[in-house]
Amino acid sequence: MRYLPLNDKERAEMRGVIGVGAIDDLFRDVPADALNPALDLPDHKSELEVEREMMALARKNNAAGDTAFFVGCGAYRHHVPATVDHIIQRSEFLTAYTPYQPEIAQGTLQYLFEFQTQVAELTGMEIANASMYDGSTAAAEAALMAKRITKRRKVICSGGLHPHYEAVIRTNLELIGDEVVFAPSNPEGQGGLTDMIDEETSCIIVQSPDVFGHLRDLSALADAAHEKGALLVAVVTEAVSFGLLKSPGEQGADIVVGEGQSIGNAINFGGPYVGLFAARDKHRRHMPGRLAGETVDADGKRGYVLTLSTREQHIRREKATSNICTNSGLCALAFTVHMSLLGGTGLRQLAILNHENACKTADALSAISGVELLNDSFFNEFTIRLPKNAEAVVEELARQKILAGVPGGRLWPGNEDLENILIVAATERTTSDDIDRLASGLEQAIKG
């Protein structure tokens, strides 16, 4: 086996040193009838054969790059500079362990510190952690954090929250007996959230741009929440929007969580992604996840360490802020490198391009007879209502290598009110040709 350096001669020699005759002498504690089970699995294969087998599976999928592509809803297909993948593949980053030994992990620690600074600036918050698994788990952690801060056990989710995010929050909280109230999802815009906030509410969780693409006025919601002693948790699933839109921090959010995939990371069929988590400094000891902090070494030189670890499970065990003990290090590095290339200026330009392509797509689609655009405002994604079931239309267009967007039926199965809606995203990768193909394909599909 190409990955195993020992040969049989060495194995025998080592058994001799240890003083055992057979390898199974080292497995004596395993119940004899359970040792060395027969397994219905193949034997080892050459790299050539494995690659061929995996390529055959990969080829059965319709890669986004081979289509006119308009799918979003929490994962966005952006262009990532080649430099990013080069850097994250460097052995010293790729195969490093969690930086618990800071003397030989400054590479990891410093980029996490840079990442935290970038995330804090983008979200408009005071501090950020070193990343979470993804946006949805970050949102659940935010709800748990709000509970720790407010000592209240009721969470209100906006109807514009991505339904997967809502499900993750609900799963984490309801199993332990907390209450999760979810406002109904309305593709034409959300309202009435403020009336739901009461003295039991730990936080309201609001996404903007929301899952339908609408931009939300977080300031008003923040005021309403704060008035009742509750926190505002803002959710952002498209990190590129930070380049163009007012940050949640500026609008009074107490915790901002987000999906960072858009910057530096591929769509990867849903993972791995990188959760962004930012908050006010006063809440820092309630934060989940890792934090890199600045310090000095024995020679007085600036360096970085993991800090405030008394919040974490390896110290606090059942009293920890969270059971999480990894972050999404390599994806955070991809984010940091891409962001360090973009800079604020580049991110703004990128955001404008995204918005412009979405505007052009929206115009092209809303010109089709029978198609209704439901958004007054949007960033790079919007919702249209079709005269027929959107899921069927999407399937039909997929056969023409047009991936038209996310139909309501996919995210809200069984919800008849939403089965005709289609959520369409554009990015800087969207071409005029893509838009033309979508528009004409959609026109045909509606007629047909």
Binding site: L94, F269, P272, G344, V394
Partner: protein, 492 residues
């Protein structure tokens, strides 16, 4: 040479990315304009490249040498895995594109699930957990859901866990609303069976046991433990962090386990990446399988299909753990690793991992104090007994390893051993490499005992990019981001 932060080298007006020109279309953002571009520098590509290349050179990594981290299984990360994970058919597909266009991806996940089930002897697996601790959460939530379904959600609230458990175990139990009750270890480093049985009762939801345990030992009474907890009406959660020692050799499903997470980033070689991303699928026994979270994959006449609707077909599911379907990128790498090894290679890997650990245990016992008698599984545990009265602590000893060119071992864990040093070489090490490592540690042990080199240990590391860092200062006055004009705490 110190590497500045990007904020100290980059141009805050600049950008290292060229983009097609915007057309000046009137924005439709309802007045939510960000007044200024984010205040972040944009580095030209050559500047960014050098910054991150030089930063990387301050890291230690598996590709440079041994990572003897007990309980962390840092093994070789094959580059084939990286190559395959970047195939457009895996990396460039969207989680919400029509399922008819991603049949190969669903099939791939289904094949991987099949391997995990067969290797563990368990009938079901929840694929979506994003890391080991997340997999624990999945397993404990399934137990919670099963208890609720049995009407015992309110009454069975106590979870038993050995003192030697990973910190995530109690944290996870607490996150699911359980209280945690410690089980003491016996003098052989294993669960004290009598003490354990005494703690069983009608309020026990289950037990969380790591096997092989964090002392590097196989819980030889595992079946008795399983039977006892089952008899008491509880479930058996197994922490699978140490599965590398027994993959292909023994199956948790044959030993009475109800749920176990598998760290794809430990056992199946997906890269650790400086702290993630991980992936922690959780295998489930029949008793817990119905409560597995969405999404899961089923195969019918039309091909593979994701079940995502929590209200419909998956009505017993305890919910959803993540948006979308989990760590696809890690699945691809793990399956590639499995196909490469095959059942014979995985078994050989487990055997080599155990052989390597015992070789290290044997050789180091010449100067260091093994925590327990006898052989071990895939990791060798030592106490600080041999450092007694030398003035050298476990931490000093570990930091001195850096100057010998090695990453320190796991220290002060498990807590049941004084000044614990836990060494897991994995199967990726050659005998030549192990001998170098052992020679270096034996030399250090002799130096420590010699009594006249205390200075060296206290000053270590010297030959690293940085000397010992002041963690207390970092925690007392946390500086968690760069701020313009903030006074640096560095003396230079």
């Amino acid at each position: 040479i110190a590497e500045p932060l990007i904020f100290e080298v980059g141009d805050f007006e600049g950008t290292g990315v060229d983009l097609p020109k915007a057309e000046g279309i009137k924005p439709r953002i309802a007045g939510f304009d960000r007044q200024h571009a984010p205040h972040l520098p944009g580095l030209a590509e050559p500047e960014a490249m050098r910054h991150y290349v030089r930063l990387s050179q301050k890291n230690y990594a598996i590709d440079m040498g041994l990572f003897p981290l007990g309980s962390c299984t840092m093994k070789h990360n094959p580059r084939l895995n990286e190559k395959v994970a970047r195939l457009k058919g895996f990396a460039d597909i969207h989680p919400l594109q029509p399922q008819s266009t991603v049949q190969g991806a669903l099939e791939m996940i289904d094949i991987l699930a099949g391997w995990l089930k067969e290797l563990t002897g368990m009938p079901a697996v929840a694929m979506s957990p994003k890391a080991g601790a997340h997999g624990e959460l999945c397993g404990m939530m399934a137990i919670k859901a099963a208890l609720i379904a049995r009407g015992e959600g309110e009454t069975r609230t106590r979870v038993l866990a050995p003192e030697s458990a990973h910190g995530t175990n109690p944290a996870t139990a607490a996150q699911c609303g359980f209280t945690v009750d410690d089980i003491p270890a016996d003098e052989t480093g294993r669960v004290d069976l009598a003490a354990f049985k005494e703690k069983l009762g009608p309020d026990v939801a289950g037990i969380m046991v790591t096997n092989p345990n964090t002392c590097g030992l196989f819980e030889r009474d595992i079946r008795e433990i399983a039977d006892a907890v089952h008899e008491a009406g509880g479930y058996f959660y197994c922490d699978g962090a140490n599965f590398n020692a027994i993959m292909g050799k023994a199956r948790p499903g044959d030993l009475g386990v109800d749920a176990m997470h598998i760290n794809l980033h430990k056992t199946f070689s997906t890269p650790h990446g400086g702290g993630g991303p991980g992936s922690g699928p959780t295998v489930l026994a029949d008793s817990l399988a119905p409560y597995a979270p969405v999404p899961f994959i089923i195969q019918d006449e039309d091909g593979f299909r994701l079940v995502e609707d929590i209200e419909g077909e998956a009505k017993d599911a305890f919910g959803r753990l993540v948006a979308f379907h989990g760590q696809m990128g890690m699945y691809v790498r793990a399956l590639t690793y499995m196909l490469s090894h095959g059942k014979d290679g995985l078994k050989q890997a487990a055997e080599d991992a155990v052989l390597n650990a015992n070789y290290v245990l044997k050789r180091l016992s010449a100067e260091m104090t093994p925590a327990f008698d006898g052989t071990c599984m895939h990791e060798a545990l030592f106490s600080d007994e041999f450092l007694k009265d030398t003035g050298v602590g476990t931490l000093d000893f570990a930091k001195a390893m850096i100057d010998e060119g090695f990453h320190p071992m796991t220290m002060y864990f498990p807590l049941v051993v004084s000044g614990a040093m836990l060494i897991e070489p994995t199967e990726s090490e050659s005998k030549q490499g192990l001998d170098q490592f052992c020679d270096a540690l034996l030399g250090l042990a002799r130096d420590a005992k010699s009594g006249d080199q205390l200075e060296k240990f206290k000053a270590a590391p010297i030959y690293s990019p940085m000397r010992r860092l002041d963690e207390t200062q970092a925690a007392r006055n946390p500086v968690l981001k760069w701020t313009e004009d903030a006074p640096s705490m560095a003396a230079e």
